[in-house]
């Protein structure tokens, strides 16, 4: 293999590039990114960076002394993959030929149709998004967050700490019921009301009002919530449009095997855009967690360098964290399919506890609130049992 192109320059792309060099790949390495920035860390964008506690230099993922001997093609989008020419087409007309391709194009924030061009309406996915939102929050006033998921909840928490008047609107009856289940979703999202942040659940958003700038969020039940700033946190969609017609099979992102291989030889996919087969559950899962973007590229790169002749090891169970209102929330495993949840340590009222999700008596997930030590022990056991 003489040229490998990594399409996507965030954590998954960087991890793939690092893994290529660590595994002895010595050929040409091209990293393509649609943002103009070198790889940066996204989790702080809704937390410490948004709060102004850390700056842009702190977000850099590369070490100062790190040299991957890569050509960085930044600020330009990939628009196509030509399987016969084995080339990546770029938005500026360039083509990059590569024997091996790592697809790491991530996901983009979903938006509300019809809100484009209205000032004061923000999504949060990129550094540029975070800069714009940070400047807006500095004006104070009333913030309405549409979506009670993790991004929305973290933005609400940060804005609350900055002194804004915050309302969170969630279409489902309970926020975070998907990742955490109904019971624990209710407990974790009660952090909002603990702090006097208004939480409106079970009501959809009909639209936004305002001429040039948003002034209110209109709800489907007829209510209107005044807003100086609106953050739309309604999930993300995988960035795979550029692969239409390329021969790479798409199904909720890039459809991958348990080792990241796609339907095309010499092409693997990693990170938020990749829908990996999960051997634990026998289904495909598109995992949008930071740790997946960090850990899985190594398996995909091993597959790429071995021309597909690898035995995939069991991936570590999905792990994610969130920080809200000074509480550390940690979760490992999958809540879906659990038939019971029990609090094993602490109490939910104190927002300091550890809960274990079980299916037929077997642990399938663990949630910790402000219990990093105990959670880590459970995560260790849990991971050992899964491998």
């Amino acid at each position: 293999m003489r040229t490998v192109a990594v399409v996507g320059a965030s954590l998954a792309g960087l991890s793939a590039a690092r893994s290529l060099r660590k595994r002895g790949y010595d050929g040409r390495l091209v990293v393509i990114g649609d943002e103009p920035h070198r790889p940066y860390d996204r989790p702080p964008l809704s937390k410490e960076f948004l709060a102004g506690a850390i700056g842009e230099a702190d977000l850099a993922l590369e070490r100062d002394d790190e040299d991957l001997r890569a050509e960085w093609v930044l600020g330009v989008r990939a628009t196509g993959l030509d399987r016969t020419e084995r080339a990546i087409r770029l938005a500026d007309g360039r083509e990059i030929r590569a024997d091996g391709v790592v697809i790491a194009t991530g996901a983009a924030a979903r938006t509300l149709p019809g809100t484009e061009g209205l000032a004061g309406v923000h999504a949060l996915r990129t550094l540029d998004d975070a800069r714009a939102l940070r400047d807006e929050l500095a004006r104070g006033g009333r913030l309405v967050v549409i979506g009670g998921g993790f991004i929305g909840a973290e933005v609400a928490s940060t804005a609350y700490a900055l002194g804004l008047e915050v309302t969170v609107i969630e279409a489902a009856p309970t926020p975070l019921a998907g990742p955490l289940g109904e019971a624990m979703g209710g407990i974790v999202s009660a952090l909002h009301t603990d702090h006097g942040v208004q939480l409106l659940c079970g009501v959809g958003v009909k639209g936004l009002s305002g001429e040039r700038r948003v002034d209110a969020v209109l709800l489907e039940d007829g209510r209107s919530v005044p807003a100086d700033t609106v953050v739309v946190g309604v999930g993300a969609r995988p960035c795979v449009e550029w692969l239409q017609g390329s021969g790479v099979a798409l199904d909720n992102g890039v459809k991958c095997g348990a080792d990241g291989r796609t339907s095309l030889a010499g092409v693997v996919a990693v990170g938020d855009c990749a829908n990996w087969y999960d051997p634990h559950t026998g289904i495909h899962r598109r995992v949008e967690h930071w740790t997946g973007a960090l850990e899985r590229p190594d398996a995909a790169v091993a597959t790429l360098l071995a021309h597909g002749a690898t035995e995939p090891g069991a991936p570590r169970p999905a792990y994610f964290w969130s920080d809200q209102y000074g509480v550390k929330i940690q979760f490992v495993g999958h809540a879906a399919g659990a038939d019971s949840v029990t609090v094993e340590e602490g109490t939910t009222d104190d927002r300091s506890f550890l809960a274990v999700y079980r299916r037929a008596g077997r642990p399938v997930a663990v949630l910790g609130m402000n219990q990093p030590r105990l959670f880590t022990r459970w995560r260790k056991q849990f991971t050992a049992a899964a491998s």
Binding site: P43, D58, A60, R63, T291, W321, Q330, R373, R379
Partner: protein, 119 residues
Amino acid sequence: MIPACRLADLPRGEAHRLDIDPPVSVFHTDDGELFAIDDTCTHQDASLADGWLEGCEVECPLHASKFDLRTGAVDAPPAKLPVRTHEVVVEDGTVYVRLSTEAPNLPPCIASRLAGGPA
């Protein structure tokens, strides 16, 4: 030298945190070796004593950066800087730590909080 704990009170696979400023932790590995490093992850305010000890590495309990107990080096993001290592001495069943004289690599949120405060 600072006394940390009795060796008998620190089983293999466990860590003991010294609440000094900045905190330092002593790790007793499964192979029976003792190491001391700065307790705070260089990325964010997390206690490495709460982390995941495996071999001669400890993984931060929050964000998965792993630190080599022998050298302090970090293997993976989000942390980018090493932790300091400190000398460990065992005398008469007591574990002592001889603190490094280097400057610690504290995470930006803590470093900014400490700036201007007493060293």
